[in-house]
Structures are given as structure tokens and as C-alpha cells.
């Protein structure tokens, strides 16, 4: 005990320290030191390795992608393979969409993104046809949704890479599948008048003075990379689906 100033009365100090002095007994000392060790271990174990940031809405998509990647890494390819056959309404369809989103985010260059989008458009188109083939399934609304998404993906892909082969192929496939699907729907629901499917290619308004068959033009994808919104007039052939005859 050091006393560095002259205010310390040594005789009083002796009396007081003697009167108040307490000693920690060995058992208590051991218990306290054990508690310190236990607390140190607890603090070390509880120390956060990395700060956990709660997911914000804009990160949720990346979270989904991460979950998709984790699924790829840890569950093998069986689930992914199975999910590729899934259709809207199936359990594995979410996995299929998550895989597509992951591929889209992993595509760095605009060309790669356009290619992925074209593939997604083709996938939607295929789903649309498969769904239409399932007789009795209440699939009209889903088919329309798929057709619209295929249309949107094609538009986005064509905006980036209008001359790309993948885009052209996807566009042709979407056209064919949409036409075929529309025919199927018409056969399944003959008594109803289903809402016409969206056309992936624009139609020009009728030109006065020309015969009706010449009023609808189908430009090549290279000429019109970003199709206009679908024309849903009841007079369009095949329920609003116009095959792109100029697509190779």
C-alpha cells in the first residue's frame, strides 16, 4: 500500500486497516478464479465470428441465390435434375426458378445475360406447352402467365443482344410453342373463349385501303428486337398468336 501524500495519518491508517481488514479465504478465491475462467470461455465462445446482418429486401434475392448454390453444392444434382421437369404448381418449381435466378445473376456480361434470358424464355415456352397438354388441369391462367414471361424475357434479351443466335432461336421456339399451345387450349376448351395469349411479336395497325390479310405484318427479330405488348383482339388468328414466318 503506497501513500504518496502527507495527508496519510499512519497511526490512524494502522487502526483502520486493522479494524476493516478482511481476507478472501482460499475456497472463495478458488471459486472466484474458476468463475473467471468459465466466464472467459463463455465470452470467447459467444464472440461473433462475423456480424450477422439481417436480410433486407434487396438482399433477399441474393439469399435465394445463395440457397440455390448451397443446394447445388450439398444435395447433389438429383433434386436439380428433378426440378427441371417441374411445372408451375409443382413442389420443385421454386427450385427450378431459383436455379434460373442464380444463373442470371452469375452471368456477368450482357451477352451472357441475354443468352440466359433466351433460355428462360424457351423454358417458359416449353412449360406452357406441357401444361397445356395436361387435359383437365386448370392451366389457362398459368399458361398465359408463362407466355407473358416468355415474352418479357425475350424482350429483355433482344434489347441487349438483338442479333444473338440464342435470342433468335428462343424467339422461334416461343412462337411455335405459343401457336401450338393456343391450338391445344382451343381444343380443350372449345365452348369457352379463353383469353387470347400474348403475341411475342408486334402487329401493326390495319392500314386503310389494304386488304385485311395484309394488315398484319410480322417483322424479323432483327428488325424489331423489342416486341410491343401483345395484341389481344378477338380477330387475330389463332387466339392472338402469330407465327414468325421470317425467323430462320
Amino acid at each position: 500500500m503506497t501513500h504518496d501524500d502527507d495527508s496519510f495519518d499512519s497511526s490512524l491508517g494502522f487502526l483502520l486497516s486493522r479494524a476493516l481488514q478482511q481476507r478472501v479465504d482460499p475456497e472463495t478465491r478458488r471459486r472466484h478464479l474458476d468463475a473467471l475462467t468459465t466466464q472467459a470461455v463463455r465470452l470467447r465462445d459467444d464472440a461473433p465470428v462475423a456480424e450477422v446482418i439481417p436480410l433486407r429486401p434487396r438482399y433477399q434475392r441474393f439469399g435465394m441465390v445463395a440457397a440455390g448454390l448451397a443446394l447445388i453444392l450439398f444435395s447433389g444434382t438429383a433434386v436439380l435434375d428433378a426440378s427441371q421437369e417441374a411445372l408451375p404448381g409443382d413442389l420443385l418449381y421454386t427450385v427450378k426458378r431459383g436455379t434460373e435466378t442464380a444463373r442470371l445473376l452469375l452471368a456477368v456480361s450482357p451477352e451472357a445475360q441475354a443468352e440466359v434470358r433466351a433460355e428462360i424464355a424457351a423454358t417458359r415456352s416449353e412449360e406452357m406447352q406441357q401444361l397445356a397438354a395436361q387435359v383437365g388441369r386448370p392451366a389457362v391462367a398459368r399458361i398465359q402467365a408463362l407466355a407473358e414471361e416468355a415474352h418479357d424475357q425475350l424482350a429483355a434479351a433482344a434489347a441487349v443482344d438483338p442479333d444473338g443466335d440464342a435470342v433468335a432461336e428462343a424467339e422461334q421456339r416461343v412462337q411455335e410453342d405459343t401457336e401450338g399451345t393456343d391450338q391445344i387450349i382451343g381444343g380443350v376448351l372449345p365452348s369457352e373463349s379463353p383469353a387470347p395469349l400474348p403475341s411475342p411479336v408486334p402487329t401493326t395497325p390495319p392500314v386503310p385501303g389494304l386488304p385485311p390479310e395484309t394488315t398484319t405484318t410480322v417483322p424479323a427479330p432483327s428488325e424489331e428486337p423489342t416486341p410491343a405488348p401483345p395484341v389481344t383482339g378477338p380477330g387475330s388468328s389463332g387466339g392472338g398468336i402469330a407465327p414468325n414466318e421470317q425467323t430462320p
Binding site: 476493516l20 478465491r29 466466464q39
Partner: protein, 207 residues
Amino acid sequence: VFSEEVAEGVKAGDPDAVAQVYIVLADRLLSYLMARVHDRATAEDLLEATFLELLQKGRTIRGGAASIKVWLFRSAHYNALDHLRRLTRRAEDLTDDPVRLEAADMARGPEDLAVASDTTAKVRRALEQLSSDQRQVLMLRYSAGLSAPEIARVLGKNDGAIRSLQHRGERSLARILKEEERGDDGEGGSMPVRSVRATPRFRARSS
């Protein structure tokens, strides 16, 4: 008190460094806590809590060994204060009389009991007659060995106030002890009874 290397260890959260500080300061802190709460088990619990707090919050201390010592006594001071406030809220009987200190001594066994002399009992009783501030300053000054500036930091007062409290407390304590000496000489050793009954708290209990 302890080396600056140990102080750095404490500030880094090293449990071995905290244990070394415990070995050096535990007795003095326990003395201070006992004088505040008058219950050995409670004082030991508060001592443990104070050192666990040091382990957890040592990183926040600025300065070296001296700052850590002040931090410990300050933490012990507030832990004791919290305990006393909890007791007050529970409307328990706050016995500040030295009898409980002596009972605590007896609980320590015959070896410790032998140390508690008659003089010790007189000093404890004399302390109880001081004001709370004077008593705390004298305890921190003479039992814990803190300097006036360190006590000022522990109690949140300025140096002048601490020196004044210390001076007045010493004068009062000396006067009380002298009176007790005279009482001992005149009444054949029955002085402590008068001294204890003179405390306001004792009067409140006995009424």
C-alpha cells in the same frame, strides 16, 4: 500495485491477467465491500461480480494499472450501492451496526476471531458514528489504500471535497475514540454500549 504488462493483459481481456489483479487487490476490495454491506457472503458475491465485470469490460478502461485499480473500486462502490438500494426497495432491515461485522468475523472461524481485538471493535463502532461520506473516504483512504485523487474518481467528487471529508472524518474518529478511552477508564470497560446506542440507526431500531 501490479505491472503495466498485467494491465495491458486486463485491457485485452486476458483472464490470467485479471486473475493476477484479483490476487493483488481482492483482499482490499473485500474489506471495502464488507465495510459497505456488512455481510460476508454478499461482499464475496459482489467481489466476484466486480472481477467478472473487469474481465468483460476491461477493454474500455483507459490508462494503466492505476486506472484499473480505480476502476475496480469504483465498480465495487456502485455494485455495493446497487445492492443497498435493492435492499431498501425490499424494505429489509439495513443494519449498519458493527455487530454484523463481528458476526461475520466469527463465521470465519477461531483463527480469524482471535485477530479481532477489542481495539478493532472500538474502531468499527467509532466509524459507524461518522457520516456516510466520511466513512467511505476513510475506508478507501486507509483500508483500500487509495490516494485522494483516486478516491475522488471512485466517488465522483473533487479532490478538495475528498481532503475535507478525510480531515473532518479523522478528527471525528479521533474524538470518538478518545471519548471511548475515557469511558473505558471511568466505567470499567462498559463504554461500547454507550457508543453503539448513540448511533441514530440504533435509536431507530430500538424505539
